[in-house]
Point group: C2
Chain length 270, copies 2
């Protein structure tokens, strides 16, 4: 029933948490971007000679970053730290940092040394509130990347917008019908599911505050989801209207049939 | 440059780690499945009256589960625990457990109380070594689910198999050309990227050990990726061959053109 050998994929919360990054190269800069996107406070320890241009840009940017131009100094660098990411070439130093973190029960990821990692990173997609992670559990980072691009192409346009709008509608509904747990909670959840099932992602993304109020007034209050026409949302058709390029084969086939018949009949009539 | 407000999506490693689950209802059973898939050792604390049939099935199954038929007892239940997941209705008890975990620096997730969570769960896809997580950062679990189904449909068949095969090829290559870091590491990585770029996922999934050896003998040794024909892999065509149903409109359009011309010419010839 359970397929073993996997990882536990989770969305770690770093808001106002303190992340230490040891190293400043290209891997460190990508780690930096990931933790800044999760609203972490960051400390970077790395001699300035080892800073990647991107890392420099982040340090100079409008972020919560404290930078120390030196190598890792020992336990005192771990005081008040909630997560440690190292990306340095010195394997022995990496192992020392990992061991200190384990003693202090600080989650740690050491780039390129799987056994020194409490967690791994994967290929990621971000579109507003939407985050998708693709992990091959270390089997093929390249395929993870190829799959990531396929998924990016398959997502409807404005998916991030749709999620944001639905989140807003949900918050407005909670204001209108407050309460945690029990019947009201269940009714809210059911209605939100109905809304998400009745409208396409492209349609949900078109909602504005007026539409949301109409949905709540006419829908929630009457325990239904109103028709699109009344909501001022443009119907999104899954089947596209034929364009010149898609209609062309049909036109050409008709002409071919027409021409064949003409030639056949004209040649016989002579 | 950085889009804030997100989470840090990671693949947490639980092999031989000890996870405590407090609760035994349907949410707890889904947590249980997730951590068993990551090879965790699990302890469940829940009065037997509160066990969901699925949780019971897991407890009776061939898994590393220790079950205690009682409520949570306090700090002593957290000894040697690496992660805590609670899914109980008692909000006060949940907050107590969360606070104990924070004191002991044990990562904790309390179902339905976001502020008591160090991490969230999301919609997940699993196909062998492939794991995909979809998070809307709490905005819309239903849309996460809809997006999950869209992604499942968009993935090529046998994607999990392809990843497994590529992982095996990578291991065989590492045996043939061992060494960590430096030139050989770079050449290995580049060749693996070439292989993944040259073959489609459906084609990679067809590789057997013989194919892999051929790829290594003829490809790696000559610094190239051999053609499919020599590898015994069936070419996977992205454009499907027209079947009766897809060819029908074309045939009908031709007949329509033919008929129109015939009628026109025959009516004039009279």
């Amino acid at each position: 029933m359970v397929s073993p050998g996997g990882s536990l994929l989770v969305a770690w919360q770093l808001k106002d948490k303190h992340v230490l990054i040891v190293g400043g190269g290209d891997v460190a800069s990508s780690r930096l971007e990931s933790v800044l996107a999760a609203d972490a406070r960051v400390t970077i320890i790395c001699p300035s000679t080892g800073l990647h241009p991107l890392t420099k840009q982040f340090i100079a940017g409008p972020y919560q970053i404290t930078y120390h131009d030196r190598v890792f100094g020992g336990t005192e660098d771990l005081a008040g730290v909630d997560m440690v990411l190292t990306a340095i070439d010195d394997v022995d130093q990496s192992r020392v940092i990992c061991s200190l973190c384990r003693d202090l029960k600080i989650p740690v990821n050491v780039a390129d040394i799987p056994e020194s990692c409490d967690f791994y990173f994967g290929s990621q997609i971000r579109d507003g509130p939407l985050q998708i992670m693709i992990s091959t559990n270390g089997q093929s980072p390249k395929l993870a990347n190829i799959i990531k691009r396929k998924i990016e192409k398959s997502l409807p346009e404005h998916t991030g917008d749709a999620i944001e709008k639905v989140g807003k509608l949900r918050a407005m509904l909670k204001e209108r019908a407050p309460g945690v747990g029990g019947e009201v909670s269940k009714r809210r959840m059911k209605w939100m599911v109905d809304v998400c099932n009745s409208l396409r992602i492209e349609e949900l993304a078109q909602m504005d505050e007026q539409t949301m109020n109409k949905l709540l007034d006419e829908g929630w209050e009457n325990d239904t989801v109103p028709r699109l026409r009344g909501l001022g949302i443009q119907r999104h058709l899954p089947i596209s209207i034929p364009t010149v390029s898609t209609a062309m084969p049909t036109v050409l086939t008709f002409i071919a049939g027409f021409t064949c018949a003409s030639m056949l009949l004209l040649s016989r009539s002579r």
